[in-house]
Symmetry: C2
């Protein structure tokens, strides 16, 4: 495999009892997945773990060597349940230090706010030794990068700001292209067609996602490839086959 | 620890390229987490893996012995990308067989539908040898139980039906109770209060979840305990402390 063919992958560790209790609906998986696609990086695995040192350390160490990049979300705020920096530092085998630039950013941000830069707020300047900051225009508290490990906020729109700051800075490969074809049919009716088309096209995966809408059964077929040519050929073949069988289908998806 | 104090835990493996690509917003984590809470079972870890045999086998085997129960979602449909039954069977070291009752259910369901019980549809009757079925009134295709492993659908409202069928059938412990107190303040202002109250109450965790709403900063504090008495004491202490400091807070959450 030449270097240009390398598939870049990332893993994501979501840290938060609020996700595991079902209290909070996670939005970071989809948000980070879509952002990574644009960078030419595929999200290879996600783990959701509780606010527990050992659980975070185990997940970070299992995934950071297996993937080109590791992202975490959650647990970098000012309260006692925010232990991500401590856990990741332990996983990396480095000390926790106060980052001078982060302290300056927080001092500035809290200068005109009640209480000023309290000890709790100063917790947000703590980083694994050797880390760089990821800017966050929203709330002052920065994200953190240490080697291939990126610590992001739990609040999705703060994470969005941090992703924005990282856009274009990570090396990636050819982005995975995709096209969707929607069809008003039970996916089980066209299972053979899908299998044959995927088999006939190298570097092509077809996913089938059924739905029930407007009282009818349908499915969207998502065709993915890193090659525009292969993708187009697979989409054309699929539409032709669905048309021949008389199905009601919609390129672009339903 | 007496048997009544045992904390029952479950893990969840979400199988699906559509989640890892960001195309589909996962809803099963929150849905299954909330259902488990009612059964007195805590969701301890979630992994999202791709439609890949080795990845599914690794996740299932890592988690099924660590937890009392293991749930999977996704990959039990009729198409070529539905490989969960094969992967879980390999993980359990058992053969894949056609379950006679599942075949009968599907034959009945497809009797009056175009094509009838095709080979693709019959795939949905395949189970790991020794498995029982989990009824699904929605689409005929059943969920699957093998020992402590439960294979559920990827489509959230089908999974909801399967959870409904399982309600009350799994052994669990004391449900984790929770109360929320909302407060119009930066969580960093009250970090000390939260830490002290958590420390003063055994069997009590307090999570802090900041938000930005109506142009104001606030946070919800979620207090969790298996003891109603401990929970109430922690909530009362928190409300008293917030009141003394003059904060605008709301029992029940904002």
């Amino acid at each position: 495999m030449s270097n240009t063919d390398k598939v870049w992958t990332a893993a994501l560790v979501i840290i938060g009892d609020e996700i595991l209790s079902g209290r909070t609906q996670d939005k970071n998986i989809a948000q980070i997945a879509r952002w990574l696609q644009v960078q030419g990086i595929r999200l290879g695995e996600v783990r959701v773990v509780s606010d527990d040192m050992d659980a975070i350390i185990a997940a970070v160490n299992a995934l950071r060597s297996e993937h080109d990049y590791l992202f975490t979300t959650g647990g970098i705020g000012p309260t006692h349940d925010d232990i991500t920096v401590d856990a990741v530092s332990a996983a990396l085998g480095v000390d926790v230090v106060v980052h001078p630039e982060a302290r300056a950013i927080l001092a500035d941000y809290y200068a005109d706010k009640p209480g000023g830069l309290t000890e709790a707020r100063l917790r947000m300047a703590r980083v694994p030794e050797g880390a760089d900051l990821i800017p966050n225009r929203m709330s002052g508290a920065p994200g953190i990068r240490h080697g291939n490990v990126f610590l992001m906020a739990g609040v999705p729109h703060i994470t969005a700001q941090m992703l924005d700051a990282l856009t274009g800075t990570l090396e990636g490969g050819a982005p995975l292209l995709s096209e969707t074809v929607g069809c008003w049919t039970a996916e089980s009716e066209v299972a053979d067609i899908l299998r044959q088309i995927e088999k006939a096209h190298e570097d092509c995966q077809i996913g089938s996602y059924p739905f029930f809408r407007e009282g009818r059964i349908g499915a969207n077929f998502v065709i993915r490839s890193t090659s525009e040519e292969v993708l187009q050929s697979a989409v054309d073949t699929l539409c032709e086959a669905l048309g021949e069988e008389g199905y009601d289908f919609t390129p672009g998806g339903i």
